[in-house]
Subunit: 339 residues, 2 copies
DNA sequence: GTGAAAGCGCTAACAT
DNA sequence: ATGTTAGCGCTTTCAC
């Protein structure tokens, strides 16, 4: 910057101001500075700038499991919004475990991110979240809601799971198994509650043997479903509570030589881009990932800009998409919109 | 850091050294420093550290299109390796256009990334790449190879495309259409060459009407395929050269009420995790995304550590997976390994 | 084994 | 409209 200043015959402070547009500069001066910058091939050092200015124009994103394509789309949506706002995304993967998560968030905090978006692992509230709050860094939770006072965005879980289950019940199914997600996070609990409530509303007792812990993993879901479907009294229907477990469940079903929906009615939470193109076509509750990601980004940006109002908890509705994996007679006909 | 030093009764330089393990410190002193750090709840400022030390421990990744799940997995693989090595990932999306790409890479350079991984958009070599090279930042190209002297990692394209096409030819198809990717990048060119070479080897003339420009986009591929398949002399087979265009092609096919492989044999470059689970099951050439991502990360890391040997160009082999969308009689039987 | 102090490349308050 | 300069919070050389 010194060199630029010298070449343009001005002071570094003028260079800084033309660079940032932070005060009026005589057009002629500006010209000389711009020319000097070009001639030298000067590039501003954002690290120094961040240190001096006290902000980095970065937002940290700690994702629970990048292996899950759902989180991939979330990253995309967040990145898009942030870059529109002139911010940059620093990405970390917590592998859905408290220890790595803490490492990721510590590293982000050390790097002085202006804000943080966190898809919390189970147990975040004991160590990770208090630490972030203590640092004073604006925080927004994504995908999984927690009972802590900060901005949160997630999908509607309970009602959507209810709807999926009710759909199977309405088609006459009575033994409906569920593959539920990783323990200790809201999305798992809420989706399970929706399932349980749908059964209760129809006066059907919840059979614990039909409750499978898929731990949000392809492999675990596959082995649980394989066990269940290899047993003697198999369910007539299955609801999978996220996309990884859907893949796992279908691997198991296919592995056993069963077919959907003939041998097993199937519905799932989370949709795929290609769901309309392949058989069986999955009846699913689709999250609006773009909206969730964008909203999360908007929320941090607001906080970064200094808004101090009460924390918001935003639920983004899902879309129930009726296809043929549920095997019901109404298959392929549009269904009445939910409430 | 001053506060910590004062509380521990040492100098800041000692604090710095215990923090970084950069020189011997009396165990007792170290204890006092650690205690002080804990008591104050001190957190190092990595921005200041980066400025003073001249390195940021960050690597920038500019991806061509985060909408493509293939690149999502690439991000994942790269992040994993970098975080293992104590580096942090800064992510940007170029939307496969030169201008946004330049903005992304400029921003990464301004942020003093220690190294950069770039999935180049068409036209990168005119502005983006020279600029990065000029900055002296270690650069590795990913997915798309260019005729520039820097490290590069990408999939094997030509031979895999040849194999896909040859497979259709060997099943008796003579009119084989291709949906090729975005213009001006190596993967498109090389995959097209593989296709053309397979035809030529069988003495079949390339029919330009069967060459569709899908521009690596779901929508464009869909409309091109729809046009072609609505026409009078339809091909008997189609090869799609990446996963986005595969989705697009299948949308078109389904939209026209045609079925695969009965009405159209279909094979594609790029595989999906669920390809075994749904019908039609795609015969595909699967990239080893994990290896590509990991290798790219390893290469930048090497450069960052100062290795100065000649640029490497690494091709990662694909896996031909034979399923039933090609409609050939040998379907589902394993195929002889390539060469 | 430890400390003092000179930067790293900027921003922004204060002057003029 | 422009310049001077004191930091920002560290690392690292040099000295003891």
């Amino acid at each position: 910057m010194d060199d630029v200043a010298r070449l343009a015959g001005v002071s570094v402070s003028t260079v800084s101001h033309v660079l940032n547009g932070t005060r009026n500069v005589n057009p002629a001066t500006r010209q000389r500075v711009d020319a000097a910058i070009l001639e030298i091939g000067y590039r501003r050092n954002v690290v120094a700038r961040s240190l001096a200015a006290g902000r980095t124009h970065t937002v940290g994103l700690s994702i629970a499991a990048l292996t899950n394509p759902y989180f991939g789309s979330l990253v995309h949506a967040v990145e898009r919004r942030l870059s529109e706002a002139g911010y940059v995304l620093i990405l970390g993967d917590s592998h859905d475990e408290p220890q790595p998560e803490r490492r990721v968030t510590d590293s982000l905090l050390d790097r002085q991110v202006d804000g943080m978006i966190l898809a919390p692992a189970a147990g975040s509230e004991v160590s990770t979240i208090p630490e972030i709050v203590r640092s004073g860094t604006p925080l927004v939770l994504i995908d999984r809601m927690l009972d802590v006072p900060c901005d949160q965005v997630g999908p509607e879980n309970d009602a959507s799971a209810y709807e999926l289950t009710a759909h199977l019940l309405d088609s006459g199914h009575r033994r409906i198994a569920i593959v539920r997600g990783i323990e200790g996070i809201s999305s798992t609990t809420e989706r399970f509650d929706g399932y349980a409530r749908a059964l209760a509303d129809r006066g059907i007792e919840l059979d614990p043997r039909l409750v499978l812990d898929g731990r949000s993993s392809v492999e675990v879901a596959e082995s649980r479903v394989r066990e269940l479907m290899s047993g003697t009294d198999r369910p007539s229907a299955l609801v999978s509570m996220n996309n990884s477990m859907t893949i796992g469940s279908l691997k198991a079903v296919r592995g056993l030589g069963l077919s959907i929906p003939a041998d097993l009615a199937f519905v799932c939470y989370d949709d795929f881009e290609w769901s309309d193109l392949f058989e069986p076509r999955l009846t699913a509750a689709a999250q609006d990932v773009q909206t969730i990601g964008r909203t999360a980004a908007d929320l941090v940006l607001r906080r970064i800009e200094g808004h101090e109002d009460a924390p918001r908890s935003i639920r983004v509705p899902t879309t129930f998409t009726h296809r043929n994996s549920c095997g019901c007679t109404a298959a392929d006909k549009p269904v009445a919109p939910r409430r």
